[in-house]
């Protein structure tokens, strides 16, 4: 699949897509229940609440109980979607997610919005930049980071069909819609969006769009860069990562998350064990977020297309110099 035109795309927030698909899934899955922690208007579960009030449970500002109650619903055969901001779902209720949900491998879907620094003006207290890392470290947990609204809808649907704990990471701002109605999503499969043999970018979430733009910038210089959408961080599509790392010989990862423990770490682990090649990680470098508009923050934290393109140039330089 080659995404040619990146301009003038429709803009939809992934959380909006979640709200819409929940309503649709609520019709098909009678066992679907949705829980929220007083943020239903922000996470968009309020849409589900309107359609299926008897299957919506607002648990108030109490995330630990939110996760525990979701575990109970799963034990009784329900398919609970527990939603709140990523920083609370993962941080505040980590022990509940670990012991009540992941350990017994319960069928709970944790769909967290407002991940990453693009929460914006609320600042670091509300910007989750370590959630992928924490969720990835839990046995039994599947971790999905959709790149756009279309993929969000497919991922939520796939998660509801899948049996076991799943973490889905969504964002606050509207982001470009990359995929059309024919888009296919499978848990655990990374998708090559653009081919190229000079370098490969493994990107996740909103950084997929930025990486595609970076590839356009690089193509103008004659560098053909592959872009792979790694929407399932765990289980990672190791074969696709290895194949493309071998083919391109120079790897960049891009994520709106700490470089520690997220996609960059996951790819580094696979490459280190299988096919060491030069790697550069674009992500948040061991710091907390801060207040600002999402666009300004992405720029200030080095997470835009020009930064990714620069990382590709650096990694190609290292490769040419024989540095690993």
């Amino acid at each position: 699949m080659n995404i040619l035109n990146l301009e003038n795309r429709e803009m939809i927030a992934t959380r909006e897509a979640y709200g819409r698909v929940l309503v649709e899934l609520g019709k098909r899955y009678r066992d679907l229940v949705v829980l929220d922690a007083d943020l239903s208007k922000s996470t968009k579960t309020s849409e589900f609440a309107k359609h299926y009030p008897e299957r919506f449970f607002n648990m108030g500002i109490a995330e630990q109980n939110l996760m525990g109650t979701a575990a109970g619903f799963a034990l009784a055969g329900k398919i609970p979607c527990a939603s709140t901001f990523a920083v609370f779902a993962v941080g505040r209720a980590f022990d509940q997610v670990r012991n009540s949900i992941a350990y017994p491998a319960l069928n709970v879907k944790i769909v967290a919005s407002h991940a990453g620094i693009t929460v914006g003006e609320d600042g670091a207290s509300h910007q989750s930049v370590e959630d992928i890392s924490l969720m990835r470290s839990l046995p039994n947990m599947t971790v999905i980071v959709p790149a756009d609204a279309t993929e969000t809808a497919r991922a939520v649907e796939a998660a509801v069909e899948y049996r076991g704990p799943v973490y889905i990471r969504l964002g606050r701002p509207a982001v470009p819609v990359l995929f059309g109605a024919d888009y296919e999503f499978r848990i655990g499969r990374a998708a090559v969006l653009r081919e190229g043999e000079d370098a490969v970018i493994f990107a996740t979430g909103i950084m997929v769009y930025e990486s595609l733009k970076a590839a356009v910038l690089l193509a103008e210089e004659g560098t053909e860069t592959a872009v792979v959408n790694v929407s399932t961080i765990k289980p990672l599509d190791e074969q696709t990562v290895i194949n493309w790392a071998r083919k391109a010989g120079a790897v960049v990862t891009a994520e709106e998350h700490s470089i520690y423990g997220g996609l960059g770490s996951a790819v580094a682990e696979v490459l280190g064990e299988n096919c060491p090649v030069p790697l550069e990680r674009v992500g948040i470098r061991d710091r907390f977020g801060e207040s600002g508009s999402p666009d300004k923050l992405l720029e200030a934290f080095g997470l835009t297309a020009p930064h990714i393109a620069q990382a590709v140039r650096r990694v190609r330089g290292r490769r040419a110099a024989g540095v690993r």
Binding site: G60, G72, F73, A76, G77, Q96, R98, N99, Y103, P104
Partner: protein, 277 residues
């Protein structure tokens, strides 16, 4: 009727005695574990498993069963002993407690030993899980009830009160919690470490129906469980006053026996006392 009641009480006393003996045997064999809070809850759990709970040991996942969740998961030996006595798995397996490969992990795990409803051990989580099952049961129009055994020290966890608030908010009349009120936690008396008192007032203020009983008196326990079944508009709490280490003279009301296994000699003495030798 009176004779039947007497027979039931005698039967429960005998079960409780066997469960206490099994707890001591298990802990002595394991060489580690939690006798104090296991022994304090024996009558509560015995009353549940041998009179109150609707269960099918041969069909542990029977959808209509009542659920019991041991939120104070460190009392796992108590739960395992009751499950074995009730026929969920062979009693010999009790001696595998805490050993590598055993289904009887140091703290209960869902999907390992049959009859264990939830993974617990990190304190404060069981009531939330029980609430989820209770709400799901109501959605499905099933009439099972959910029972959650909490510790008094455990009540220091904030999540307990989140769950207490939510259960009352959703009027979970099919949810009953039992508080094993033995007054001790690892570091000493609960009043001295971090007092959660007054407990009855707190639970009432959170919107629960509350009753206090002697947690070693089967008459009072059975009556309280009957009472709880009759409370439909809100969750019910049975505060059971107990003695930590109950039944073993040198363990009774001693905080130090919270998480320490008896030596071989101590176990022999304990078993002697429990067998009435």
């Amino acid at each position: 009727m009176a004779a039947a009641q007497e027979e039931l009480l005698w039967h429960l006393e005998e079960k409780a005695r066997r469960i206490r003996i099994d707890i001591i045997r298990m802990l002595a064999e394991a060489g580690s574990g939690h006798p104090g809070g296991s022994l304090s809850g024996v009558e509560i759990v015995t009353a549940l498993f041998f009179h109150v709970l609707r269960l099918r040991p041969e069909e542990p996942e029977w959808p209509e069963r009542d659920r019991f969740i041991l939120s104070k998961g460190h009392a796992a030996p108590l739960l395992y002993a009751a499950l074995a006595e009730r026929g969920f798995f062979p009693r010999e397996e009790l001696l595998t407690l805490r050993k590598l490969g055993s289904r009887l992990q140091g703290h209960p795990v869902r999907n390992k030993a049959p009859g264990v409803e939830a993974s617990t051990g990190s304190l404060g989580q069981g009531l939330s899980v029980g609430l989820g099952i209770a709400l799901a049961g109501r959605l499905d129009r099933r009439d099972y009830r959910v029972y959650v055994l909490l510790g008094d020290g455990e009540s220091e966890e904030g999540q307990v009160w989140e769950a207490a608030m939510a259960a009352a908010h959703y009027r979970a009349g099919n949810l009953t919690a039992i508080l094993d009120f033995n007054g001790l936690q690892i570091d000493g008396r609960i009043q001295e470490v971090m007092s959660p008192l007054p407990l009855p007032d707190k639970w009432e203020a959170f919107g629960w129906a509350v009753r206090e009983v002697d947690g070693h008196d089967f008459r009072e326990l059975l009556e309280a469980f009957e009472w709880a079944k009759g409370v439909h508009d809100r969750p019910s709490m049975i505060i059971a006053r107990t003695v930590k280490g109950k039944g073993v003279s040198f363990m009774e009301d001693v905080a130090d026996w919270h998480g320490k296994a008896p030596s071989r000699e101590q176990a022999e003495q304990a078993l002697g006392e429990l067998s009435g030798v």
